[in-house]
């Protein structure tokens, strides 16, 4: 009893410390007698709000943005923030609110959820912050409903997934069975990729015999792929919504002794899949040029801020990357 009480003290103490440390630094301290600072700093401050920086796709994106800012330090200040947990929407909402409190000029955001963050972004826009949406598109219906205007800069995930699906379909014939391993079902890009894969399967007459969520994770996708391979012995291909899950699926195919008989496709073109593309165990993946994505978003934000450009959505390129076996 006593020990657990002291345990709580530890927790509270730690929280107080953390809270003290992470309190955003006071902006422009107004010392006595000094004139108030100019209302708008000459250099705009842009906040890049990501999903998990632990995810290498977003890590790459953030590095691209930092390099861009370093090269053009005179034009803007950059604040990069990521979440601890990729699926924790409330954490991202908190980040948005903190950025508004820091009085940034623009928020460039890769939303953790295509609907849940919209109210927070609307409040930001109402406070005069420009919102640019990258990567994962905010839900158009909810955008209309709330009246938030957010420029979208990003890849067409559906188009990219369709390209991957078509590449797989070229190796198969109509009537063959395929399985989908999807991302987190609530995420817009996951839904778009599933739609794109479906488009391609439908067009080529492939039959989708099973579809389950691998939650973007290698381990989970591996377990699902193994189960699906057992349950559907005639399966011809596994189409995955990202490369991590594709790695898990490839391991399951190898373990089942079906390398070469069951094709696997991915999405994102991360370094870890390069050897698999080379030896043919991964048929194709899709490169959406993640390192450029944040930079494109920032450039768009700066252009709108400087009134060089009127707000308009922009689609960034998605390219099919074919492995040894596809060629």
């Amino acid at each position: 009893m006593r020990r657990s009480a002291s345990g709580w003290l530890w927790i509270v103490g730690a929280l107080v410390l953390v809270g003290g440390c992470t309190k955003p630094p006071q902006e422009q301290p107004t010392a006595d007698g000094k004139p108030a600072p100019p209302p708008k700093p000459a250099k705009p401050r842009v906040a890049l709000v990501m999903k998990s920086l632990a995810n290498e796709f977003f890590g790459t994106m953030a590095e691209g943005a930092k390099a861009h800012q370093a090269a053009a330090a005179g034009r803007y200040d950059l604040v990069v923030n990521g979440m601890r947990n990729e699926t924790d929407v409330s954490e991202q909402v908190t980040l948005i609110e903190q950025m508004v409190a820091r009085k940034v000029a623009a928020i460039v955001i890769a939303p953790a959820d295509s609907k849940a963050v919209i109210p927070a972004l609307k409040r930001a826009a109402d406070a005069g912050v420009l919102v640019v949406n990258i990567d994962n598109r905010l839900d158009p219906a909810v955008l209309r409903e709330t009246g938030l205007e957010a420029v979208f800069v990003g890849p067409d995930n559906r188009e990219g997934a369709r390209k991957a699906g078509e590449a797989v379909a070229r190796q198969l014939s109509a009537g063959d069975g395929v399985a989908l391993i999807e991302g987190i079902p609530t995420a817009f890009n996951s839904q778009q990729r599933s739609l794109g894969l479906e488009d391609a399967a439908m067009a080529a007459g492939l039959v989708i015999v099973d579809r389950q969520s691998g939650q973007w994770e290698m381990e989970k996708a591996n377990a699902i792929a193994a189960a699906v391979l057992t349950e559907h012995p005639a399966l011809k291909a596994i189409l995955c919504a990202n490369d991590s899950m594709a790695l898990g699926a490839v391991a399951a195919v190898s373990a089942a002794g079906k390398s070469g008989q069951v094709l696997v496709s991915g999405f994102d073109n991360v370094p870890a899949v390069q050897p698999l593309l080379a030896d043919g165990r991964l048929l194709v993946t899709v490169d959406q040029h993640g390192d450029r994505l944040a930079v494109e978003g920032i450039e768009t934000a700066l252009a709108i801020l400087n009134q060089e450009k009127s707000p308009a959505d922009r689609t960034t390129p998605v390219d099919l990357v074919e492995g040894q076996a596809a060629r």
Binding site: R3, A54, E219, A226, A227, T230, A255, V270
Partner: protein, 316 residues
Amino acid sequence: MINKTRLSEWGGLVLVWLAIVALFGLLAEHFLSAATFTTLAGRLPALAVIAAGMTLVVVSGGIDLSVGSVMALCGAVLGLAVTQWKWPLLAAVPLAILTGAAAGLTNGLLTAGLRIPSFLVTLGLLEVCRGLSYAVSGSRTLFIGAGIEPLARPLPFLGVPATVPAALLVVVTAQILLSKTVFGRHLVAIGTNENAVRLAGIDTRRAKVTVFLLSGALAGVAAVFAVARLGSADPNAGTGLELAAIAAVVIGGTSLAGGTGSVIGSLLGVLVIATLEAGLAQLGASEPLKRMVTGGVIIAAVAADGLRRRLSADRD
């Protein structure tokens, strides 16, 4: 502590497992096939060795929440050693296990030395090790491939990879450690009443540090198994694994209050959880259904165990 009660407990779990297998056999067309069980055999080792370490910790009245993160960290170190430093497996594997042991040692020293509850210490290490895992791997999945995959390839004659007998060896060793050695007796005693053990002139701190060290090292072993099976090291691996391990341990009849438990029981608990996962995936169950069924089975198993305990307590 292998007595009649334990045997009946294990028998009960085997029955539960058979019931789950039979149910999925009816529902899924190809569930009762060799492939299902080979897949299960491939998947079990990592969780089984983690659950073995967790059992020892829980029996001693503690808990280790850091196992999933420690496993990810060890996997990342293993991946780095093989791909970047070009170490041979014979050196990289021990390095991964040592990394786990170091994390476990930290848990143990903080828990026993500063007398902070293990729940809080390992919760802290959970975060620290996840961070280290990202830092070591640069947040990138490391592909190892042919270098490590042979470990996961089915052995001739046995039909299962070498990780399976290795994990069984770990489980049996841990069970023997728990029931046949002075160290095991000390763990049981500490989990029952640490104060009385100290006043009987026994060094409780040494046993506590050792048990956390073991748990960490076994998380390292699990990392080797997982990396071998997937052919790559994922810095995000093992998220939520501590909860799966605790569930398996509890299903296996170990009391979260400490003082009683068995490693073999935890192995059966792992078997139940992994079979459930495989069966639901073969059925193509939706994500919500999977989670609800898994949660329901955990509660049912623990409730059934509580009922059985009360009945047997009334008898003696």
